[in-house]
């Protein structure tokens, strides 16, 4: 309990300090220290997890690398700060991290009261349910009477109560404070259903003793737009973080990949030329406070959005999450980049 009080007091204390730090130009700080300090998850397979040698990889981690590549031309100039759900906001407010790329849902409260800025959504998520195949459940509407494992103190817990009430279903909540405890309880069969963000379910399923025995139900009961967050009050830094995402999406739309980026520089298409900074007198990169090579550097470091998605959480990964809403706008999804002009 002491820790919780401490956290609360520290949160309150750093909120004040954060205001001062935010006024400094984050880009200059990052350039002078020589790396990006990136707040990531403590370990969620596919999004951010360290391997045995301590090398981080994942969808969110690639965003950290892309930001570093845009600034330094080198995707390895990142230092990672693993943060729990509770620690993440104080870490960003206090200036301990430069950017938070940690499965964080964009909500109005976080955008305003907590003093953060969100813009691009790099993963459109929603709360889902996972059950054992042996129960032969096809829809969440069949879950009446089930025991549901959920992490306490999350929006997930509230969405769950609302969903079951709205559909007039009975359930028995089994709540734990830590994600690991929820996993263990579900794996041990203490509950029939596990609910959290759907991407999280895909990731957590891999950690169960028999991943193939479980299915994720089709229903999505909430909107969870996840994206990188920065402190309010530094528009230049906010622009860089936002446009790194848009560059990744735009690269996919143009068909520019990690493999063909050098070749695409010779493209005749003026849009592609402008995007890759080979147009004469191009000022797009320098206006951002970066070099004209910024987009090329990003793509060289991590590939385009589609490649980042597939490699970490999509078809090319053990998670095998479908693109769904995260497909490009012209391919049935809602990922869309404003024009680079």
């Amino acid at each position: 309990m002491a820790r919780r009080i401490l956290t609360a007091l520290v949160c309150a204390a750093v909120a004040g300090i954060g205001a001062n730090v935010a006024s400094a130009a984050t880009l200059d700080d990052v350039k002078s220290k020589g790396f990006v300090q990136c707040g990531v998850n403590t370990g969620l397979a596919g999004f951010a997890a360290p391997d045995a040698a301590g090398n981080w990889s994942g969808f969110d981690v690639d965003y950290c690398k892309a930001i570093a590549a845009a600034i330094f031309g080198d995707g390895s100039k990142v230092k990672y700060t693993p943060t729990s759900a509770k620690e993440r906001f104080p870490a960003l407010q206090s200036g301990e991290v430069d950017v938070l790329a940690r499965n964080t849902t964009w909500t109005i409260n976080r955008d305003t009261a907590l003093g953060f800025n969100f813009r691009p959504v790099n993963y459109y998520d929603g709360q889902g349910f996972m059950v054992r195949k042996s129960l032969d459940v096809k829809s969440a509407l069949e879950l009446s009477g089930a025991a549901v494992c959920v992490q306490t103190g999350t929006t997930t817990e509230l969405n769950l109560a609302d969903y079951f009430k709205a559909n007039n279903l009975q359930y028995n909540p089994v709540v734990f404070e830590k994600l690991e405890e929820v996993n263990a309880a579900y794996d041990a069969g203490r509950c029939d259903v596990y609910t959290t963000d759907q991407s999280g379910l895909y990731s957590l399923r891999l950690t169960l003793s028999n991943p193939d025995d479980h299915i994720i139900l089709p229903e999505i009961i909430s909107k969870e737009p996840l994206g990188p967050a920065v402190r309010q009050g530094d528009d230049q830094w906010f622009d860089i973080v936002s446009w790194v995402h848009y560059a990744l999406v735009q690269a996919e739309e143009f068909g520019i990949t990690q493999a063909n980026v050098e070749e695409m520089k010779k493209s005749e298409n003026p849009d592609v030329q402008r995007f890759l900074g080979v147009e004469a007198d191009s000022k797009i990169g320098t206006d951002l406070g970066l070099t004209n090579e910024w987009a090329v550097n990003i793509i060289k470091a991590v590939g385009n959005y589609g490649e980042v998605f597939d490699r970490n959480i999509g078809a090319g990964s053990p998670l095998k999450i479908e693109r769904g809403l995260n497909a490009l706008w012209n391919k049935g999804g809602i990922q869309y980049a404003p024009p680079v002009r």
Partner: protein, 397 residues
């Protein structure tokens, strides 16, 4: 410092300078301590208020009337997501109280048995009791809870393969499911009959005792009382047409449906706290019995009192005087250790409060409620035990 002054002889004053006056020095240091303490409290309070203001966090207890929005798995009183945060805290408080009271009763029973077992002349019983005490006393309570939760209860079968016990009772990893009695019209007479029988038994026992005191004649008490307490309610029950039915658990799609459930979270916490605290109580009981002078037993034997009566009438009443004060501490420990429930997801006061704290951000208010509730619970236990201790104390004439 004040004590130093009273012991100080008169001659101190002769040294003249006020700086050397131990009385003045004492006052100075006491005043200094109070001022530093006051400044510290002021600084913390001021800092907190300032930080809350900066973080735009509204303080106050108004949030207790807002809709909670979450559900609680285990609740003795009606609760839904539409209930208020205040009611959620009451649910948590009742759950804490439940585990504390049942735990105290069980720990006392086990503790007395093991404590007396340690003094047994039977080698096996004495060594078993010794092992019990040493094992449970030397493991942190949290590990004992995990032992029961993860080691014992979670490896029980799934509800559809539940172990069936007599009377439609089932044991599974969802807990103990048993038929829920439903009291129908007329069942209040049975309860009334039971109350009458109990009251009558007390009167009868008192009469028998007074008669023995007055005349020396003993009337058998046990059998008439048993007959009264069992017989009268059973007769009433049959006479009113057996107004009782059971909601029997049946296998549903996911769980056993119907009946009453005691969840594995409660069971683990209850068993762990009982077993853990019982080890300490056993040692207290042993110390209490050992603390009664051997001469007392010998004197009783010399008067021709039989061994069993010696224990009951001579040793135990004196041992209780040694046992009760440390026993109170163990009861308080058990109540406070119940907050470890948060580790296994039992919805006690701390777990529910933690959820509310996360949802509302009202950390100071929730923490203050925790402090007040635990303080009140502990003080109430202490008061009761002090009253009991005073009753058991040696009556000096």
């Amino acid at each position: 410092m004040a004590i130093g002054v009273t012991n100080a002889p008169e001659k101190r004053k002769s040294s003249g300078s006020i700086l050397n006056d131990s009385h003045v020095r004492g006052l100075f240091y006491q005043a200094l301590t109070v001022i530093i303490l006051a400044l510290l409290v002021y600084w913390i309070a001021d800092n907190t208020i300032e930080n809350l203001r900066r973080a735009n966090i509204a303080s106050g207890y108004g949030f207790l009337n807002s809709r909670a929005g979450f559900d609680v798995g285990q609740s003795l009183i009606a609760f839904s997501s539409d209930s208020t945060y205040g009611r959620a805290l009451v649910v948590g408080f009742v759950n804490t109280l439940l585990v504390a009271i049942t735990g105290i009763i069980t720990a006392t029973v086990i503790g007395f048995i093991v404590g007396i077992g340690r003094l047994s002349h039977n080698w096996i019983i004495a060594k078993l009791s010794l092992t019990y005490v040493e094992v449970f006393r030397n493991i942190p309570p949290l590990l004992v809870i995990f032992f029961w939760y993860s080691g014992v209860l979670s490896i029980l079968p799934q509800p559809r393969d539940a172990i069936t016990l007599p009377f439609n009772t089932f044991v599974s990893n969802r807990g103990l499911t048993f038929p829920k009695p439903i009291f129908e019209e007329g069942s209040q007479y049975t309860i009334l009959a039971l109350l009458i029988a109990v009251a009558a038994s007390f009167v009868f026992a008192r009469y028998a005792r007074q008669r023995q005191m007055a005349t020396g004649q003993r009337i058998p008490v046990l059998w008439p009382v048993l007959g009264l307490v069992i017989g009268l309610p059973v007769l009433t029950f049959l006479a009113t047409g057996s107004p009782l039915s059971f909601d029997v658990p049946v296998e549903g799609r996911f769980n056993l449906v119907g009946g009453s459930v005691i969840g594995p979270e409660f069971l683990s916490l209850y068993l762990a706290l009982s077993f853990y605290t019982a080890a300490f109580i056993a040692e207290i009981v042993r110390a209490g019995i050992r603390g009664v002078s051997k001469g007392q037993t010998e004197a009783a034997h010399a008067l021709g009192i039989r061994p069993r009566l010696t224990t009951r009438l001579v040793v135990v009443p004196q041992a209780m005087r040694i046992i009760i004060p440390p026993l109170t501490s163990q009861y308080l420990n058990l109540t406070k250790n119940s907050s470890l429930a948060v580790a296994i997801g039992y919805a006690d006061l701390v777990a529910v409060g933690g959820t509310i704290l996360n949802q509302t951000g009202q950390s100071i208010e929730v923490v203050s409620i925790w402090l007040i509730v635990y303080l009140s619970l502990s003080l109430a236990t202490s008061l009761f035990m002090n009253w009991y201790n005073a009753r058991m104390a040696l009556v000096e004439r």
